[in-house]
Amino acid sequence: MSSNKTNQTSTEYPKPFPADTKPPRLNFDFMNGLAQFGALIVIFIIFSIAEWYFMGYTSFASVRNVRSIISQTSVVAVAALGMTIIIIAGGIDLSAGTAIALSATVLAWCLKSDFSAMIAIPAAILTGMLCGALNGILISTLRVVPFIVTLGTMTLYLGIAKMVADETTIRPDKETQIPDWLEIFTSIRTDSLYLGMPSGIWLIILVAALTIILLRFTVFSRYIFALGSNESTARLCGINVPWTKIGLYSLAGLFVGLAGVYQFSRLSTAEPTSGIGLELKIIAAVVIGGGSLNGGRGSVIGTLTGSIIIYLIGNGCTKVGLTNPVQDIALGVIIIAAVTIDQLRQRRIEKS
């Protein structure tokens, strides 16, 4: 990389570029995610060895267990994809948790009211989108920082969910009201699997692929990155900032709605408070995955990896026989460590 000895001064055009004039074909998303993926593998190996060493057997590094971890991750993973977009755009969404619960509650309410899943699921996803859209609209029109707006809507959506659920748990009838495929959507029972994975996991992979494409190859993505990097510049360049925000928060809301479907599918019941605290897990997933809260940086692969790491730690600690306190401490340390390492890596890249 020490090519640019631009000593030619300005008699001729300087040749500041590397000889190749082809754009870098590396997909940055993959590149960024890769480092986190490496961390994931390391943690995985450590737990595997620890289990084998301390417990004398290995249940951790089994296909079954991997499936189980991934299935536990699904709710957070789906929502974190949407959060990645928001965080790249320099925003944040504290209402994601309660909006997931609201979506799940709407889904359960529809089923309980004997609507078919074909109506209930779109209704849930639409609910998520509307939550996102409202966030976007408030952020754009009130010009209040997203942290506050979504701190407010967080409580708002909680209240609405309680209203829909009449403050209690909604429990549609398993036999008559919940379709089988929805019940086993994230189930890892052998008879629920499809090509070795719950169908819900395949859907996540599909959605993640679409998000990668969206974030790399669309015009909209450039607007998202511009917003996250410098909002005034975005405005100066004629980007319709309010609409872009409304658009991207709605899009993220779509993911939130989908996460609501996953949450419902995991328990086949819905409970209005079930999203409290989830927002911080979701944000942590994005951040462990390399997203920067200053905007402008984040990756899909990283986020998915980050989500898995969070649940991996819980799973691993239990398998190794560690107590809850230790588990919490480990998670805390890993969040900080992951971001620190990513930071160091970034700095090194910038230097080299």
Binding site: S59, N65, S68, Q72, K162, D166, E167, T168, T169, R171, D173, K174, S187, I188, R189, T190, Q263, R266, L267, S268, T269, E271, P272, T273, S274, I276, G314, N315, T318, K319, G321, T323, N324
Partner: protein, 307 residues
């Protein structure tokens, strides 16, 4: 204080559950409203904290009702933390009935209306011991620290097993499921997965806890093989009794609890004699007895706002 049209006084009674999301409380609410209706001129103000570990939330509800109500019926989510605030209400001349879960200091309260939770836990242990023929490895999934009712069940379960079924081994009794079905599912999955090769039985000490455990058993394909005892019913658990995935449910009588809680308070206000301790009873539903009328009623008790 306001008055009804006929000049008679309308009593406002605050009924404060430990939380609102459990189905259990819906039935308590139903019972409370029954008592109010029966008495007449009574308005029930139903309000609880968000989650069953939100001490500050429940304290706030108690404090906020002071000045507005003629009596409080409270299920304290912590037996010590609420003492001060019950005293505060009493200082303000508001009578307080405690229900469902105990309070450390009962000197100022009107009455305590609840299940004998220790006995409930012991019944669960006996049922487990019988199912396992006195031998096997079991898991106790705890609820939430500080909740007197469930702590009683947990202690009773462990002590009874130790005393009456010394060959039953406890694999794990230090895991707390948390107050929601979601946290219970996560915790139950982890614990069951860890011990899935050894476990013979599991006891979940209340409804959300059991709901999560049932789902976890199904996911891990252990349902039916592992003897599962729940505390408090819901439809899935009741169905589980018939399809062999649940082997026993300890039942309380939430409707009676709500009813007697409010009734006792009203009796006190009206100057009638009341008992300092009212036991609302505890039962074990099994696949065998679940069709009996009393059991089937308790397995699906009426709920407030239900049909």
């Amino acid at each position: 204080d306001s008055s009804a049209d006929n000049g008679e006084k309308t009593y406002r009674i605050a009924v404060i559950p430990k939380g609102t999301t459990h189905e259990f409380w819906k039935s308590v609410h139903y019972g409370a409203e029954q008592a109010a209706k029966e008495h007449g001129n009574v308005e029930i103000l139903w309000k609880g904290p968000q989650l069953e570990n939100d001490r500050e939330g429940q304290i706030s509800v108690v404090q906020n009702f002071i000045g507005n109500v003629d009596g409080i019926v409270l299920a304290p989510l912590d037996s010590q933390a609420l003492v001060e605030y019950v005293d505060e209400a009493v200082e303000y001349k508001i009578p307080v009935v405690i229900f469902d879960s105990g309070l450390d200091d009962t000197s100022n309260i009107v009455s305590y209306v609840a299940t004998d939770n220790y006995n409930g836990g012991a019944m669960a242990a006996r049922r487990m011991g019988e199912l396992l023929n006195g031998e096997g490895d079991v898991i106790l999934l705890r609820y939430n620290p500080g909740s007197e009712s469930t702590e009683q069940r947990e202690e009773a379960f462990l002590e009874t097993l130790k005393k009456e079924f010394p060959n039953v081994n406890i694999l794990s009794s230090d895991q707390y499921s948390g107050t929601t079905p979601a946290s219970s599912l996560a915790k139950a999955t982890q614990v069951l997965d860890t011990y899935k090769n050894e476990v013979d039985g599991i006891f979940a000490v209340c409804e959300p806890n059991a709901a999560g455990t049932l789902k976890a058993l199904q996911e891990l394909e252990l349902a039916g093989d592992v003897k599962f005892i729940a505390f408090d019913p819901n439809t899935d658990l009741a169905n589980g009794l018939s399809d062999g995935t649940v082997h026993g449910i300890v039942l309380q009588d939430p409707v009676a609890m709500g009813y007697l809680g409010v009734k006792t308070l009203l009796d006190h206000i009206d100057g009638n004699d009341i008992d300092k301790r009212v036991n609302t009873g505890e039962y074990v539903a099994t696949p065998e007895n679940m069709k009996e009328e009393e059991m089937s009623n308790l397995l699906a008790p009426p709920q407030f706002g239900g049909e």
